[in-house]
């Protein structure tokens, strides 16, 4: 019977831990990634997830020809470098932050509106046997009207 008393306590503990992890991710996105947008207006959308070394995330979004954009991609300090690539609809890579010293931001504008795909990947520390690092990765978009 004791096991049945433990179940609700364990469930509550797990729920609390989960909510805390997510709340930390939100706080990280707000405090660390949002300022990276600088003078660009944040669109208000929230894209963040806990990723482990070697894991990837993909994001699909339409970008418009009347805007100047900044994308900011930030990973928590405990993570290795976060790589991101931007691909067009034919899967051609049009930008990789690997070529820019793993820059956290990229500023761009478009001559015509396009749907682009962002591929975000947490690199690996390459230390076999160690517990893989995990942490929050946040993707934020800012825009300005073209002058």
């Amino acid at each position: 019977m004791r096991i049945y008393r433990i179940i609700p306590i364990l469930a509550l503990l797990i729920i609390t831990l989960t909510v805390n992890v997510d709340a930390q991710c939100k706080a990280f996105a707000k405090k660390v990634c949002l300022p990276e947008l600088g003078a660009y207006t944040h669109d208000g959308n929230y894209h963040a997830a806990i990723l482990v070394e070697g894991e990837e995330a993909e994001l699909y979004k339409t970008f418009y020809s009347d805007m100047d954009y900044r994308v900011a991609i930030c990973g928590e300090d405990k993570l290795p470098n976060v790589e991101f690539k931007v691909l067009d609809s034919n899967k051609n890579v049009i930008y990789s932050n690997k070529d820019a010293g793993f820059a956290k931001t990229w500023d761009f504008k478009l001559q015509s509106s396009q749907q682009l795909k962002l591929v975000v990947k947490v690199s690996s520390f390459n230390q076999p046997g160690d517990t893989p690092a995990s942490g929050c990765v946040s993707i934020m978009f800012g825009f300005k009207m073209k002058k």
Binding site: I3, Y4, I7, L10, A11, I14, I15, L17, T18, V19, V21, D22, C25, K26, A29, T41, H42, D43, G44, N45, Y46, H47, A48, A49, I50, L51, V52, E55, E56, A57, E58, L59, Y60, K61, T62, Y64, D66, M67, D88, N90, K91, N92, V93, I94, Y95, D107, F108, K109, L110, Q111, S113, Q114, Q115, V119, K121, I139, F141, F143, M145, K146
Partner: protein, 306 residues
């Protein structure tokens, strides 16, 4: 034996619970479906992609209500408050679906009013959005302090946009973090439809050819599949299933429009530290297709607001 079975099933419940929580922990995106796990790699890019295996998360990002309103303004459209969802409707929304859709709709209306410096409407629509967020149980999305700050800075568009952006992020991050992706998707869908509805209503048919706003409306075709993917990630939800059917109806009309784009040529501008993605586009929406699109959007939107 019975006791053993009871303990074993108790442990099983704990293990299942823990496993489901771990999955829930990876919030903020959709788990990639199996059929999306491989990436088709053109041969010339093989080296660049060699380490791509599979995506752990898929984000389908629709334009936010603020971005939709900005697109309308940047196309040179005029302001017309008759296009907005009247704030007198707020008490009609009692289901989670209607509150979620109208949180997106009122946030788009609020953004639209903000960009055109409609001071009284800004406060009214912020209160309407707050009512929707409160009804959905979104804690601290729109606090009284935000409304006070809005009133203090009512003539400062930049501060207002920052407040709108922050309150919207509070709402969608709360929903993402609290395991309500279907509600979060519905908020975005509401905002997207409102932007499209206002745009279609503001087009002057006498000035159809070369109209910048018409160009922005055609661009929304690029987001229709993203919208469907976003909804399909929550498709067990009956409210979402209804929306999927409505969006598919709209997609039929969008499919009558052809968009042909030349390959992108990225060019880096050192002076502005900006990459310019150069490409040419050809589109072919006729006035008849526009009218059909406009009528379909209005019909779907009326089911959201009435």
């Amino acid at each position: 034996m019975n006791k053993k079975f009871g303990i074993s099933s108790g442990i099983l419940v704990v293990v299942l619970l823990f496993a489901s929580m771990l999955i829930g922990c990876k919030s903020g995106g959709n788990k990639a479906p199996k059929d999306k796990e491989t990436v088709d790699v053109p041969k010339d890019n093989t080296a660049v992609y060699e380490d791509i295996k599979q995506a752990e998360k898929i984000f389908n990002a629709l334009p936010s209500p603020l971005e939709s309103a900005m697109l309308i303004k940047s196309a040179g459209a005029r302001f017309d408050d008759a296009m907005l969802n009247p704030i007198g409707n707020v008490n009609n929304y009692v289901t989670n679906k209607s509150m979620a859709l109208n949180l997106g709709i009122y946030t788009c209306d609020l953004s639209f009013a903000s960009l055109y410096e409609q001071t009284q409407l800004i406060i009214d629509y912020m209160n309407a959005a707050k009512k929707m967020a409160d009804g959905l149980g979104i804690l601290k999305a729109i606090e009284q302090s935000s409304i006070d700050r809005l009133e203090e800075n009512i003539n400062n568009t930049e501060v207002i946009m920052e407040i709108v952006s922050t309150t919207f992020m509070n709402s969608n991050s709360y929903l993402a973090d609290n395991g309500q992706p279907a509600i979060a998707a519905m908020v975005l869908v509401g905002g997207w439809f409102e932007g499209l509805y206002i745009s279609t209503q503001l087009v002057d048919m006498k000035d159809f050819n070369g109209n910048k706003l018409v160009g922005r409306i055609i661009d929304q075709k690029l987001s229709i599949d993203i919208l469907l993917s976003l909804l399909e990630s929550s498709k067990e939800n009956p409210a979402v299933d209804e929306l999927i059917a409505q969006v598919k109806k709209l997609k039929v009309v969008f499919d009558k429009i052809t968009i042909t784009t030349s390959p992108i040529r990225p060019e880096f501008d050192k002076a502005s530290n900006t990459t310019i993605l150069k490409s040419e586009v050809k589109t072919d929406m006729t006035p008849a297709v526009f009218n059909e699109l406009s009528a379909t959007v209005a019909e779907i939107r009326s089911t959201f607001v009435n």
